[in-house]
Symmetry: C2
Amino acid sequence: MKQPGSYPSTLSDVAKRAHVSLATASKALNGRDDVAEATRARVLAVADEIGFVPNALARSLLAGRSGTVGLMTSDLVGRFVLPILMGAEDAFGAGQVNVFLCDARGDAIREQHHLRALLNRRVDGIIVVGRQTDPRPSLGGGLPVPVVYAYAPSDDPADVSLTPDNVAGGRLAINHLLACGRTKIGLINGDPAYAAAHDRTTGALEALAAAGLPLVGQPLYSEWTEHWGRDAAAVLLANHPEIDAIMCGSDQLARGVLDTARDLGRRVPEDIAVIGYDNWDVLTTNSRPELTSIDPNLQELGREAARRVFQAIDDAGARRSGTTYLPVRLMIRGSTVPRR
Amino acid sequence: MKQPGSYPSTLSDVAKRAHVSLATASKALNGRDDVAEATRARVLAVADEIGFVPNALARSLLAGRSGTVGLMTSDLVGRFVLPILMGAEDAFGAGQVNVFLCDARGDAIREQHHLRALLNRRVDGIIVVGRQTDPRPSLGGGLPVPVVYAYAPSDDPADVSLTPDNVAGGRLAINHLLACGRTKIGLINGDPAYAAAHDRTTGALEALAAAGLPLVGQPLYSEWTEHWGRDAAAVLLANHPEIDAIMCGSDQLARGVLDTARDLGRRVPEDIAVIGYDNWDVLTTNSRPELTSIDPNLQELGREAARRVFQAIDDAGARRSGTTYLPVRLMIRGSTVPRR
DNA sequence: CTGTTAGCGCATTCAC
DNA sequence: GTGAATGCGCTAACAG
């Protein structure tokens, strides 16, 4: 029976009621094999009866490691952090590790504050999740625990950073359009202040160059909105009516492009193929037609970040520093390949 | 100077180097006033010099409370949990409390597993965040810490639950349409298996009845997608061409309705006013025109959940059990009121 | 196989 | 003002 309102029973309570010593009770509960089966059964029965819950605080204090990690996000609102969070929580959860969630709200002071708090709580490692793929300031070296930067890499090459490979994503998108037989390809992108925008363009231009084809018109940059997608598509199609495919730097842009194509009477994908980026399901699966997109595989990125932290904890020397670019995937839907 | 790779210094290190006793060092660092100023200064200087970080584990063990809470989500993917999470993290963060994040992935076994882990870690309270507003199974009474259910209320009225007031939201939506001079209002809703769908309809019908007006046609239910929004709007407008406003059970539905209206040559908001639900910014601010919607105020719900946990921790008797329905807000945009 | 002892790092009595 | 002792709950050595 548990009593509401407090954590009542301790290991010594169990020991007393089972008529054994503290040490024996501990061994019995922890599955050590130097305990008689009968004794173990008695201890377990008592523990269950009085609702004993071992105190991880005491255990951690003794063990010198807490079995917790800090997950520090620079901004929870962004839609990119959630999947990363899920991946990390998933990977850690399986390993009996619990996750402290901190949100710095894009504020450096608050970040420092949270960092202190995490160290106070003796986390065994920290994952820092940024909201853009642009490099962010390092938390600094000399921290007593391993730190892995996810999505936004650290600006210090001595740190360990993980970020999706946007250049490869750009290449992947263009190569898919080429594979679909398109040759007159335009490019609409988002906010030019984002590294993600430029990286995706870079990859796209590489793939086109490899195929010996030019981009139709210039890459168009402004902001990550459907509005801009609509407007940019109108400009692009007015100036280059021959265009048979448009690559977009985000799914929002792509949805705007779909709208404009519809308004102008261009069929998608027959007349124009459209490909987005991010594979954000609300946008990709609800559009007409559904949107082909590049999936940055963020959940896997979160898992990998967790794995790296584990690695670094188990073997402090093993951390491979520098930025690793993780592979992205192509999700083909109706906006590039006609449905039957 | 901190040494990488471990948490090196302890309070006794500080005491030694400052030539004081453990007790004095402790008092100095914790701002107790029975310490000479000179001594305190010396201790603080040493602590800073060797990069002393107090061990919250030890402190918690001694204090009998950890200053942590558990945040258990039944499913992180849902877009409703994130704002709640943010609100809770925000409220706790200000109070020096750290948050353990657990995701049960909709699995009861995993939920039990995480619950154990949280209790092991001696959390001072737990918030359970569901993904729908339908009641969910209680974690059970007799837990040693206060539990607050957010979004999805517990099915046990003895628990403390917080959920947005969907009925009021339905009323709010209809009253806004009425205030805009609309009188022939149709209603498109999502998955009939969700309490949210029915509650919003209930509120809508209440408001119409209060105004002495009938709903045009029947409420249409199917699923929470733009596809259904498009299809339902087509049906509704074909059967009831006189309709001058459509209330939708979600923003996705509303976006579908906007598409169909456009296809059929009905102007929004001039010919038909459209109102959504959830105020999901990606959808509301990117549409043509921008979408009026009901905001369930989830961040505030998260904050309130945190406050309730605080309350229950500080004064175990004070917990008001039962389900509290939190107010929602109207966000007016161009789909009901013409922009100038 | 079982029990006794020591201590993880810290805050808190209580003497001095 | 300061310091020596006590114990939070637990596990790891050792002795029996």
